[in-house]
């Protein structure tokens, strides 16, 4: 059901929402970018609509609002473990169509890859999604190529346009909150076409694995892992046991985001690593996104948000690599 509100009315409704829900949305962090006097857009908790960055795509995805960068799994003593409490409040996450498609990929791994993940599930059940429209394509995104440019898997759609706000309510949980708005036909803004177009390689074979492209791009990679950390579909983590300094028998076990490009990712006890060469790491990442995941779950992993291309300090363009690979596979 669609509604129209004045911006002021919307501000009041939002203040109410922020009381009932923890609201996470992209926010401009002044000066927090990689370089001096450069901003970064990333997710944080907000209490008013004005704090939300609706125009620029977030540099880091919504993922951290659902899957903390550092998460304590439990505290331990010599013979006991204590699991920290999960979120107490329901959670609203503002995100775009590509990212809503990414949620499905996170769910796939954390809820439906044999085991259910206790921590992910207890947060996920509390989350409602607010779609942000994309009136125009972003710089490096290729959502249309990946079929992620449109979605109906949202609970709310909110658009602020000048002095008005438009809302589409899909989840009855919010009907009461928005019922006083003027009825209006609200259709989300979806991108129809991107500047970047990607053709996925067909006929991936064993020969594809040894493509020179992986060597070339691998040689340019500096293993910083930024592509993984900004990616809304990367789900890897490492376990860390922290033994408290003043009592080494007490501590906590955490899981922390990990990257298949960063050193140590495949290293087993004793120091043996399985992908020491950068070209192997590049191949591993790319193949996961465009092949392995699809083989296992029946649909593509990459949602084409383009953040990896936005962030790479070495200007490695994943989308260009894919297109080149597709040509090779023809």
């Amino acid at each position: 059901m669609g509604y129209k509100f004045s911006k002021d009315e919307m501000a009041k409704i939002f203040a109410k929402l922020a009381q009932d829900y923890d609201v996470f949305a992209p926010v401009v962090k002044k000066g927090d970018g990689t370089f001096s006097d450069v901003d970064v857009v990333r997710y944080d908790q907000v209490t008013s609509l004005d704090e939300i960055e609706f125009n620029k795509k977030s540099d880091y995805s919504f993922k951290e609002a659902l899957l903390p960068i550092n998460e304590t799994l439990f505290y331990f003593t010599e013979d006991e473990t204590t699991v920290p409490k999960g979120p107490e409040k329901k959670r609203l996450i503002f995100l775009r169509s590509c990212d809503i498609h990414a949620v499905k990929r996170l769910d796939q791994i954390y809820l439906d890859n044999k085991f259910e993940d206790f921590y992910y599930k207890r947060t996920r059940e509390m989350v409602r999604f607010v779609l942000m429209g994309c009136p125009n394509t972003c710089e490096n995104g290729f959502c249309a190529s990946m079929g992620t440019n449109e979605t109906n898997q949202y609970d709310l759609y909110i658009k602020v346009n000048g002095d008005n706000a438009f809302v589409d309510v899909k989840n009855d949980e919010f009907t009461e909150t928005f019922k006083n708005g003027a009825l209006e036909d609200v259709k989300p803004d979806f991108v129809k076409e991107n500047k970047v177009k990607v053709t996925l390689p067909k006929n991936i074979t064993k020969e594809t694995m040894s493509s020179e492209l992986f060597k070339e791009y691998g040689s340019r990679c500096i293993n910083c892992g930024r592509c993984n950390f900004v990616c809304p579909t990367c789900t890897c983590f490492s376990m860390q046991d922290i033994f408290y300094k003043d009592n080494e028998k007490v501590g906590e076990r955490r899981r922390v985001w990990a990257s298949c490009q960063v050193d140590g990712y495949t290293e087993i006890a004793g120091g043996h690593g399985f992908r020491n060469d950068n070209s192997d790491r590049m191949r591993f990442k790319v193949m996961h996104k465009i092949h392995d995941f699809e083989q296992r779950f029946g649909y593509q992993m990459c949602v084409g948000c383009g953040r990896c291309d936005d962030v790479c300090p070495e200007y490695i363009s994943y989308s260009t690599l894919i297109n080149k690979l597709a040509k090779e596979c023809e």
Binding site: F74, I109, F237, M239, Q240, A269, H288
Partner: protein, 263 residues
């Protein structure tokens, strides 16, 4: 719902020292376990590590641990009576049924023998379950040999070749890589042979090349992969190879699958 990440306390019943670096922890565990499966074991001052089951008995499970990294200086013998956090078992493990009635060759390198120990034990105790059972186990040197007592016991009922890569002069016993002994293997019916080989990646590679020279088909070969398995639950991603998660779909793979997997 069950929180799979929460480990349970398990008492260390016995610690068996094999070499200066390798120990077997015999621990309390009640539940179904198959050889080749693994547990996530919380090692004090180190953290969780995936350790394959090297032995199964009633209410007991063995883990053979090579101490590396941060735990190098721990005195493991002192741990008897202590409790460690463990969770598992994870992974598919070896299915004994696949090997019954076959001419079995089990080839292991170093700690690679651990995950197969349960399989060997079964056929050593029940030799009639197979047409024949041969174990070829390779270690770096006589000092690195694991499960010494086992080998003596096993050699009573099955063929055992325990070889070392290098040995000081005067060493009595086979010397050389495990691959050296493959060409001499004799079979009644080569179609009925099965091979299980586990060890360091390089050893597996050359062993399988040698096995294939005998005319053994891929589906007759089994292996188990050791990868970094942080969670054991198909979540952390570290053990993914191709479209498989070693912790969920393995660590035991038939070679028809294994040969398609790339690191």
């Amino acid at each position: 719902m069950k929180n799979e990440y929460i480990p349970q306390l398990s008492e260390i019943k016995e610690v068996i020292k094999h070499t200066d670096l390798e120990y077997t922890f015999r621990m309390a565990f009640d539940g179904e376990v198959k050889p080749g499966q693994f547990f996530e074991i919380s090692i004090p001052k180190y953290g969780e590590a995936p350790i394959s089951v090297s032995g199964i008995a009633d209410g007991l499970v063995d883990f053979t641990i090579r101490r590396v990294g941060k735990v190098t200086n721990e005195v493991f013998e002192n741990y008897v009576g202590d409790k460690l956090f463990i969770r598992g078992p994870y992974g598919n493990g070896f299915d004994i049924e696949n090997y019954k009635g076959k001419e079995i060759v089990i080839i292991g390198g170093g700690t690679g023998v651990s995950p197969m120990r349960g399989v060997i034990q079964h056929f050593a105790a029940n030799p009639q379950d197979a047409v024949s059972t041969t174990v070829i186990a390779g270690f770096k040197s006589p000092e690195d040999v694991l499960f010494k007592a086992d080998f003596e016991e096993w050699s009573k009922t099955i063929n055992v070749i325990k070889t070392v890569d290098n040995a000081p002069e005067g060493y009595e016993g086979p010397v050389g890589m495990v691959t050296k002994y493959i060409p001499d293997l004799k079979f009644k019916d080569i179609e009925n042979a099965v091979f299980i080989c586990v060890g360091p990646p390089i050893m597996i590679k050359f062993t399988i090349m040698e096995i294939q020279k005998l005319g053994i088909k891929d589906e007759q070969i089994w292996t188990s992969y050791e990868r970094k398995m942080c969670c054991g639950l198909g979540k952390c991603g570290h053990c993914k190879m191709g479209d498989k998660y070693v912790c969920l779909d393995g660590p035991v793979f038939n070679y028809t699958e294994a040969k398609e997997l790339f690191d």
